[in-house]
Subunit: 227 residues, 2 copies
């Protein structure tokens, strides 16, 4: 039997690599989609390519898109520093990119329509949605409702599903799950300040969450750090 | 009093130019957004710049985005011919671009968040929504519901509104409205096969709808045609 195609949003970090492994384990043929959106940590795109290859993606596309043009985030705006520590509880981090998940999911929807795929995977999770509005479950549900009306199949009645298998998992839970599925996390890059070789700074918020995740899961941290 | 900012999706055609004129007449400060998405009729981007200037946009941005990469439409895929006549009634035209309005509205949402604008204008209309899934009123309502959850202000409670002032107008009604508001339609380009100077072919579906619109409104057609 032919496997059903699914579009997987793949940043090259720990979460999206795990998400890809889950989609594959669930029997989907993975079509991975990454974005070059002017992020400072471009090393993650190389990581995405490594991860897509290692986990057997049918196809991996990198779209160059322009989000930096609008500014407003430490990840795309060179005038805002990436914070070393975490933000205040309940506050939206300055690393939030305006409407990012909406833009990325919209492209995934476009590709899914061309592929005739009913399934899109995005690796948002419980840790993220404490701060980012577009990681919340009610947001994802609302995007899915919109997406079912947005396309050709939407006219007939769409089964399009936005899968968020990490939504209720902690970083430790994600690291545990991916390890069970054979993900090689040494291939992934999570750090906001990774160097050209993809080595992590070990100090930014993303690094702290990631290393705590491995520690809490009782796993050795395979991350490659800058000296 | 400072005018409220609004993001206007501006393709450079008859509809979006009218939409911009309406937003301005309603007292908004217009921030116009156009896209270079690999469309064959690039002349419309020059038209968008002319229209934005003529109608007093506060700012006009052209984002280069990649929709052609996915293929699937006569407007972006060089292997599909743009049809000369119209499609069959009830069928989705081959000129439909996968999830186009979802992608474009997502960028408008991103910019609106940075501008702290609560208002987005898009020139979808009754003629379009007969064939395009992402021009239907239920789709627009659903996008607005999603957008209110997607952004920073969405966490507090968003008033974001997707304005579709042309939704129930025919082409004749749109041409009439814009003429009342002083739109110079000679500046606009609607044709799918416009030449480098923005002159229309007079034969494609877009040209036929447009010229019938002027005729039905009892207006002279200001369109510049090829030979």
């Amino acid at each position: 039997m032919t496997k059903k195609p699914a579009v997987i949003l793949l940043s090259g970090g720990l979460d999206s690599a795990t998400c890809l492994a889950i989609a594959k384990a669930e029997g989907f043929a993975p079509y991975c989609l990454s974005f070059d959106y002017g992020q400072k940590h471009n090393a993650e795109l190389k990581a995405a390519a490594r991860v897509a290859k290692a986990l057997g993606a049918v196809e991996h596309r990198i779209l160059k898109i322009d989000l930096a043009g609008f500014g407003g985030s430490a990840l795309t705006d060179a005038t805002i520093d990436v914070p070393v520590g975490g933000g205040k509880p309940g506050e939206i981090p300055v690393t939030y990119v305006p409407a990012r998940n909406t833009v990325l999911l919209s492209y995934a929807l476009a590709w899914s329509e061309v592929l005739k795929a009913d399934d899109i995977f995005i690796g948002v999770n419980a840790v993220d949605y404490s701060g980012y509005p577009d990681c919340r479950p009610e947001y994802i549900a609302s995007f899915q409702a919109m997406a079912r009306l947005a396309t050709k199949v939407g006219v007939e009645g769409s089964n399009l599903t936005i899968h968020t298998p990490l939504l209720k998992l902690t970083k430790a839970g994600i690291a545990q799950k991916g390890t069970e599925l054979g993900v090689d996390y040494a291939l992934t890059v999570t750090c906001y300040k990774a160097d050209f070789e993809g080595r992590a700074c070990g100090q930014c918020e993303a690094c702290r969450l990631r290393s705590a995740g491995f520690a809490n899961a009782g796993l050795a941290d395979p991350t490659r750090y800058q000296k």
